[in-house]
Symmetry: C3
Subunit: 151 residues, 3 copies
Amino acid sequence: MLDLMQDEVFRAFSTYALVVILKTMIMAPLTAFYRFKRGSFANEEDVAFKSAEERKKLLRPNPDVERVRRCHLNDLENVVPFVLVGLFYALSGPQLSTALLHFRIFAGCRIFHTISYIGAFPQPCRALSFFAGVGATVSMAYHVLSKVFVL
Amino acid sequence: MLDLMQDEVFRAFSTYALVVILKTMIMAPLTAFYRFKRGSFANEEDVAFKSAEERKKLLRPNPDVERVRRCHLNDLENVVPFVLVGLFYALSGPQLSTALLHFRIFAGCRIFHTISYIGAFPQPCRALSFFAGVGATVSMAYHVLSKVFVL
Amino acid sequence: MLDLMQDEVFRAFSTYALVVILKTMIMAPLTAFYRFKRGSFANEEDVAFKSAEERKKLLRPNPDVERVRRCHLNDLENVVPFVLVGLFYALSGPQLSTALLHFRIFAGCRIFHTISYIGAFPQPCRALSFFAGVGATVSMAYHVLSKVFVL
């Protein structure tokens, strides 16, 4: 194993980064699940064995499928910046306790964000978990920029 | 060159990561190509020199353009997690042969996925290449989590 | 701080990567701002306190909101590859001046791209800034591949 992986903060970061990445990846089979359940597909070849009339019906967008897709895109927009910013953060030598606090808040918020998005929880459930996640990422970015700044 | 780049697994990972990232980036000019070929644009300013009537026609979505865009988004949803998970994987010291197997399966699957998506190949071409790619990423994530796990 | 962060090129890369990631993240609140300003929402629960008639009106897509969302997606499609390719590039030991040139061109282009997209500047403002950004990323990828290539 390389030296980097001996670092306690980097190990913790790897764990949390993998958790949120895997959480994001689950959205793809979840979309497929809703596509089959609701009978709403995006491509002609996905409904090739159906009659022409049924095909037209199966290619219409469905609000539940679109909801899962928006949730997936929102994950991409937030989880990817977290992992990239977190990489610089973990390399910039923060305290383990501070780092864990950031990672835990972000991971918790994103898991709650997905549940409230898919479950259509009343606002501000989704909005608050979104902004708390963004806050964790921005706080890490600020920490890195305050230590390394070469423009 | 930094020490990290001396590591054989990391060099192999860099190569395959760049191949799939460049493959993803090709989708943008491909979208532009289909936009011009099919006459379907997304922004008012892209069709500024046309007559009002023609403009309205050129701003309608086209199924072929939408197909390339879905393929591009699917790449983002899969290639980015692969590169991020692969980074931790390459740092966690796997065997070169095992690592190469993962990288080759993923890269091969994603290239075949793009061809079957754009070419509208009959299912399960696209589905199988999608799931094999996901499998490679999940397998790498499992390997990392089994070695470093700090929650 | 870990050894990696002592490297001048890596420090410069961290700075520019964080700048473009934060720029991408700004698109989310900007989308929210346009959603409220134009009265166009995506989810039922976001307009729960309105009357049934008003709700229907507020759930219609709006061209300005869609423009910001396209700009956000375009950022994801370009900024994420830049940061990932740049990571390998920074590790492959380029000259500081060459590296800074790449980072500055990319960051400048993406900031100008966002301004011209949101402001609906006449073409080829958006197209040129897009292709110059892609050029910087591809040039870095070429540099890495010419140094480390293990297939």
